[in-house]
Symmetry: C2
Subunit: 149 residues, 2 copies
Amino acid sequence: MENRIEKIKKQLHSQSYKLTPQREATVRVLLEHEEDHLSAEDIYLLVKEKSPEIGLATVYRTLELLSELKVVDKINFGDGVSRYDLRKEGAEHFHHHLVCVECGSVKEIEDDLLGDVEKIVESQWEFKVKDHRLTFHGICNKCQNRENE
Amino acid sequence: MENRIEKIKKQLHSQSYKLTPQREATVRVLLEHEEDHLSAEDIYLLVKEKSPEIGLATVYRTLELLSELKVVDKINFGDGVSRYDLRKEGAEHFHHHLVCVECGSVKEIEDDLLGDVEKIVESQWEFKVKDHRLTFHGICNKCQNRENE
DNA sequence: TATAAAACACAAATTAATATCATTACAATT
DNA sequence: AATTGTAATGATATTAATTTGTGTTTTATA
């Protein structure tokens, strides 16, 4: 935990940004809810619990900054709000998501499944791939079992 | 063209919706701009050219309806607006997009590149895939050439 | 043609996100 | 230590996209 904060601090410093208390509080919330795909509003409320004086705009600005630095990925499942995911350490790419259309749960996949597909895209369409985002919509493990009962 | 409108009409009727003049005008705009990834506002302005009395809310409701019926796909490239793409005839899946980070152009790919990947997801995570959305971010053909000059 | 349901236009409300701006924190410099 | 300049902050207003009322009109069908 402290370790990862240290790293993010260095990443900020390398671009001459500072890890202010507000930014640190925001990062801590992200670290404590890594699996949760929180919206900016969610994050704001959680940060506020420990640092009640923080403003919503600051949270937005922090998330925007972290997004530029590729510390977090800003994702959009089409429900009107942006969500923010910490990028896993060392991960070069955006991770993928499995969104269950029954229960709404979101599972993450770290594996890079698209190596071959990217090669096809690069050769066939002469498109230099920098990043990708892939989401599957379907029915999760649990909901499948529930239906079979 | 008329053919495809006929089909959409039947699809609406099958769920006991009507293809009203306003809805038809909206569908025509979509058909005439199939490659363009229009926003609701864009579509509204185009429909208005031929049917000036239409309301924006009607366009939104129409797009929402078409989206439910899987006639169009509602997509979001993270720029704050939803865009609406006609689903290709017979296409079971969402098509993919190549978004150029230089010039903002968007190219579509019809090919189903994810057959193998879906199999992996289904077996390894026991997730029944219904649909997917895949977007690549990178540098398009034209911008690559421009940079090399 | 009568009738009820559906769809409509327009206005108003909601919501996420951004912009503005006065204030504050902080580091570098004198 | 005082000064100065820059960046960050918080409160609030504003914007922009979308959704939701409301009363009216259209449409299908009996």
